[in-house]
């Protein structure tokens, strides 16, 4: 038995069935990501002054990944257009590039961006101990300029030392540049190029620390919502890649020989999903990397 309306439109909707299906699915996705973005808004607006970090993510890398994802949105629509024009060779080429772009996006995220965070350590200082760390935080300088205070010292800590229960201090081997030169006006705002860490031994007494952790989701509301949204987005990229690869393999060629319009429709449907994933990233990028 053949499934009806995989190619031709249903008379009542004017659409082939899969198209209705994918749009209903995308409607549910809007609500899913909408819920997460509203959580972002809630956490960010509710954050106390200084507790919502700025400039922790690598902007050039994020920009590169955004451009890669936009490029893949163009190539997937070109792959679909090639099928509509019955140019199977071109379809294979554009789809191949799309798969490479999607894979590159995930590789950058999973092998560079996320691991770099997992090696970064941050210690939130208790309110009544902030003055003790003034040489690293520069809060008097910030207050004079009307800027929010710094409440955390971040940098590299000796591996494993964060869990050393015998030690009464956290020992930073390197700190982020901002804590080495806190009253430099250049440090008032994040920079486009990441500032290299500075080799400076900084000891922070555990008794003065409100909370400390590597940059894991548990580190802060910011990283919690960052890893959740980018992780879920990454899973969507992976899902799209699996379907693209399936249709790039001989399965796609066989379907094309059988009924090219059917393959074109399937690529249109997965392409709609891919554009949605791109659309989500368009908001993720400025909200987490830039603002």
């Amino acid at each position: 038995m053949e499934i009806p309306h995989t190619v031709t439109a249903r008379p009542d909707t004017g659409l082939y069935n899969a198209k209705i299906g994918i749009w209903l699915f995308l409607a549910s996705e809007v609500m899913l990501f909408g819920g997460l973005f509203s959580a972002y808004v809630f956490l960010r607006v509710g954050a106390l002054p200084g507790y919502w970090p700025h400039g922790l993510l690598n902007v050039p890398v994020g920009t590169f990944n955004t451009l890669v994802l936009i490029g893949s949105s163009v190539t997937v629509v070109l792959a679909w257009a090639s099928l509509k024009m019955r140019k199977f060779g071109q379809y294979k080429l554009w789809m191949g590039i799309t798969i490479l772009c999607g894979a590159l996006f995930l590789i950058v995220k999973l092998t560079y961006e996320w691991p770099a965070k997992f090696h970064h350590f941050g210690a939130f200082i208790k309110q009544d101990a902030l003055a003790k760390y003034e040489p690293y935080l520069g809060n008097n300088y910030l207050a004079a300029k009307g800027l929010p205070p710094r409440v955390e010292i971040t940098g590299d800590i000796a591996p494993g030392s964060e869990n050393d229960t015998n030690s009464k201090v956290y020992v930073f081997e390197k700190v982020d540049a901002i804590y080495a030169d806190p009253t430099n006006p250049e440090m008032d705002r994040p920079s486009f190029m990441p500032r290299p860490m500075v080799e400076k031994r900084v000891e922070v007494a555990k008794a003065d620390v409100e909370y400390a952790s590597m940059f894991y989701p548990r580190h802060s509301s910011y990283f919690s919502v960052y890893f959740l949204i980018t992780g879920l987005h990454g899973l969507h990229v992976l899902g799209g890649l699996i379907v693209f690869t399936y249709f790039w393999l001989p399965v796609g060629a066989n379907l094309y020989k059988k009924n090219p319009e059917h393959l074109a429709n399937r690529i249109e449907v997965v392409g709609l999903f891919w554009h949605f994933v791109d659309l989500v990233w368009i908001f993720v990028f400025p909200l987490f990397y830039l603002l």
Binding site: T13, F42, F192
Partner: protein, 113 residues
């Protein structure tokens, strides 16, 4: 009824021409999106006075980019009414979702403590 496979194998010249005429547009929109991405990055380092103003500028650009993707790449510029109906309901509930989040900030318990 589905058409015979032999029938759908043939190039629909009118449809192919229609798609072909859009290819240049897809490339232009891709270029525009890349440009807007770089512009978003650039403007994020411009001080518009307050952080809120910077957020508004970045979100306006992101909304413009999202609109381009939805209208051109996702073909919402000329789609069937059935899909618009689905999306209108979605937009209604998505606005409600964010409105409820906004409402949380006027919670009297929060204001008192």
């Amino acid at each position: 009824m589905e058409p015979s496979h032999e029938h759908s194998h043939a190039v629909d010249h009118e449809a192919a021409h229609h798609v072909n005429s859009h290819v240049k547009g897809y490339l232009l929109v891709g270029g525009l999106l890349a440009f807007c991405t770089l512009l978003t990055v650039l403007l994020s380092y411009v001080n518009f006075g307050t952080q809120k103003a910077n957020i508004v500028v970045a979100m306006l650009l992101a909304t413009f980019k999202a609109g381009c993707v939805a209208l051109i790449f996702m073909h919402l510029k000329s789609e069937k009414w059935t899909i618009y109906r689905v999306l209108l309901i979605t937009v209604f509930f998505a606005i409600g979702l964010f409105a409820l989040t906004g409402l949380a900030f006027s919670d009297p318990i929060r204001l008192n403590f």
